[in-house]
């Protein structure tokens, strides 16, 4: 059987657990302890995971982080299991269930009674923003609980094999993966209560969170909530855009850099922002051929240095190009791309076919604002920040008292800014809980200056303008 697992990587080391076996529709599948069901199946060459509800189209591995519905199967008799976030276990029985599964026949054991507790601060999301907020608050004596769906906290940092840009004083030059380690170590040292593998189910009045943990339902009554829930990738509308083999850049990164599994052999990258360029480079590092990067704009969007890395490896970057359709019936077998004119119209006669088995979509991110909206925060569409963002004070408090945001969920920016915003929120929470001090005010000033620094220059102009549009004037409120 095909094996898509990466055995050697220039940057990453994959620590695979011992070999285990599980049953997939009557066939024995080899996996390694620590892999998810979907990752193991994908590594073994499975393309169709489920099918769509009405049009019965094949659905493949897609988001890789348990947020979509593309990998749901029946596992040990339980339907609708997100196999991309469910770890494999020896002897497990996994079955596809198509569009609609049968109502379960078995009755699983009961779960423990919900646990309720009162805490100072709940932080949702363990990326650079959430961790930074939690660290500052905990260092100053707050009882801080940080929830993250991943078993490896660190947010998207854990997928970043490249060295970070930014100030050397703010960890630039460190790889994302190492940065995540540092932040986690610091969080533990500061006494942050880390809850990896937990899902925040919802906001309930007043500042109460329902959380799904491995031990059951947990309810946290808080004095302050920080939503640092990051971003969601933009999807793209084109013909056959749902074929297995079409993934978001995040899904590709998760598969490749967390599970050590290559998405395919030949990848067409759509989008030339930093995400597209960086993931393109990471694909090359994993030994995957990047056939082309296409970009609808007349110029590529990311840093020239990232583009140069790809160009030096012989990867063409075609600007003013877009995808017309994906080719294939059960999975991607190629793509048709064409040139766009100044009015975004296809230029006749420029269509050409590319051979590829993966189409990676990297056409930007939008803030994951679902949680703040649930809490009832007032939102505003700010193009410069990637979509709808909560209106906030300078300290990043939303219009819901005691509910804060930081990082990409407040507006799409770089990881360094996310970390700085997290720190700022940490300070604001300390002030709320314990009153202000010279130390905290000084710290806040420094952080604000740091954020301002990061937003200087041509690449900072856009977010700088965006933030102005959704930040309340302190004087007014």
């Amino acid at each position: 059987m095909e094996d898509k697992r990466i055995r050697e990587h220039p940057v990453l080391e994959f620590e695979r657990g011992h070999e285990i076996h599980f049953d997939f529709e009557g066939e024995e599948v080899k996996a390694y302890k620590g892999e998810t069901i979907a990752a193991a199946l994908y590594a073994n060459g499975l393309v169709k995971f489920t099918e769509s509800k009405h049009h019965h189209r094949p659905r493949g591995f897609f988001c890789a982080i348990g947020k979509c519905s593309s990998c749901i199967m029946t596992v040990n008799g339980i339907p609708h299991v997100r196999t991309c976030v469910t770890p494999v276990e020896e002897g497990m029985k996994v079955k596809r269930h198509g569009a609609l599964p049968e109502f379960p026949k078995e009755v699983p054991p009961s779960s423990p009674e919900a646990k309720e507790s009162k805490v100072d601060i709940a932080v949702v999301g363990g990326g650079p923003a959430g961790l930074s907020a939690a660290i500052i608050a905990a260092q100053h004596g707050a009882d801080v609980h940080l929830f993250d769906e991943g078993d490896h906290q660190g947010g998207q940092l854990v997928k970043q094999t490249h060295q970070f840009f930014g100030s050397h004083l703010e960890e630039a030059g460190t790889r994302g993966i190492d940065l995540a380690e540092d932040l986690l170590r610091e969080a533990k040292k500061a006494g942050v209560n880390l809850h990896p593998g937990t899902t925040v189910l919802g906001y309930y009045p007043e500042k109460t969170l329902a959380v799904e943990s491995k031990n059951g339902l947990e309810i946290y009554h808080t004095k302050g909530i920080v939503y640092a829930t990051g971003a969601v990738e933009n999807y793209l509308a084109f013909e056959n855009n749902d074929l297995p083999g079409i993934y978001g850049a995040g899904g590709v990164q998760t598969l490749m850099n967390e599970y050590g599994i290559i998405p395919g052999e030949k990848v067409l990258m759509i989008g030339s922002g930093n995400v597209g360029l960086i993931v393109g480079y990471q694909l090359l590092q994993a030994g995957v051929d990047v056939v082309e990067v296409i970009e609808a704009m007349p110029n590529f969007g990311g840093y020239q240095v990232h583009a140069s890395k790809l160009r030096r490896a012989g990867v063409p970057i075609s600007t003013a190009h877009t995808i017309k359709k994906a080719l294939g019936t059960d999975r991607v077998e190629g793509a048709v791309v064409h040139v766009l004119d100044e009015d975004w119209q296809p230029v006749p006669g420029t269509e050409r076919e590319l051979e590829c088995d993966v189409i990676c979509i990297a056409v930007g991110l939008h803030p994951d604002n679902q949680f703040v909206r649930q809490a009832g925060a007032e939102m505003k569409y700010v193009r410069e920040l990637g979509g709808f963002v909560p209106i906030r004070t300078e300290d990043m408090e939303t219009t819901v008292e005691g509910v804060f945001v930081a990082g990409d969920s407040a507006g799409i920016e770089e990881a360094t800014v996310a970390a700085l915003e997290g720190k700022l929120v940490g300070c604001a929470l300390v002030e709320r809980l314990f009153g202000t001090s010279d130390e905290i005010s000084d710290m806040k000033e420094d952080i604000k200056a740091g954020i301002e620094q990061m937003r200087k220059g041509p690449y900072g102009e856009y977010p700088r303008r965006g933030v102005k549009l959704c930040t309340l004037d302190e004087e007014v409120c």
């Binding site: 220039p10 060295q163 930014g166 840093y303 240095v305 140069s308 220059g457 041509p458 690449y459």
Partner: protein, 156 residues
């Protein structure tokens, strides 16, 4: 500015080059970083303070006379945009950053690539240094290729 935002390839006019005189004196850094990116690890990497910037978003300013061509910055640049050229030997050498597998060995013959990934010549690896997982690989290149070669491909 040339059309590098369309092509991803810098032209020689975009790059600040050391003078011919400076090139004769010893190895020296070439930084192919032309955008105002908020980034400054190169500044911290230089033991001679030959790279500087006032604001983090400035383009690095290089004191070619202060640079000793030590190549410490080559592996520190997140953009893999720093190279060291040495025209004092024959053939000349160029140190390029490298983060792929396999890692070439000293003495190995590799393809030297240009900015478009095209093979320019066959080069001998004369030095392999690493900082973390990023390597600085020093290649022998013909004098006429020192402004062309910016990458390598292992022949194995």
């Amino acid at each position: 500015m040339t059309d590098y935002k369309e092509t991803g390839i810098l032209s020689l006019d975009d790059i600040k080059k050391p003078s011919e005189d400076r090139l004769k004196k010893g190895p020296v850094v070439v930084i192919e970083c032309v955008e105002n990116i908020p980034c400054d690890p190169c500044v911290a990497a230089c033991p001679k303070d030959a790279i500087s910037m006032d604001e983090i978003t400035d383009i690095p300013s290089i004191d070619f006379d202060g640079c000793i061509g030590c190549a410490l910055c080559v592996t520190e640049c997140p953009g893999l945009a720093i190279f060291v050229v040495d025209c004092t030997s024959d053939p000349c050498t160029i140190t390029v950053p490298y983060e792929y597998l396999p890692v070439p060995e000293k003495g190995e013959k590799v393809f030297a690539l240009d900015r478009e990934g095209k093979r320019v010549q066959v080069s001998k690896v004369v030095r392999v240094r690493s900082s973390g997982k990023t390597y600085g690989i020093t290649l022998e290149v013909d004098r006429e290729n020192i402004w062309k070669v910016r990458g390598l491909e292992v022949k194995r």
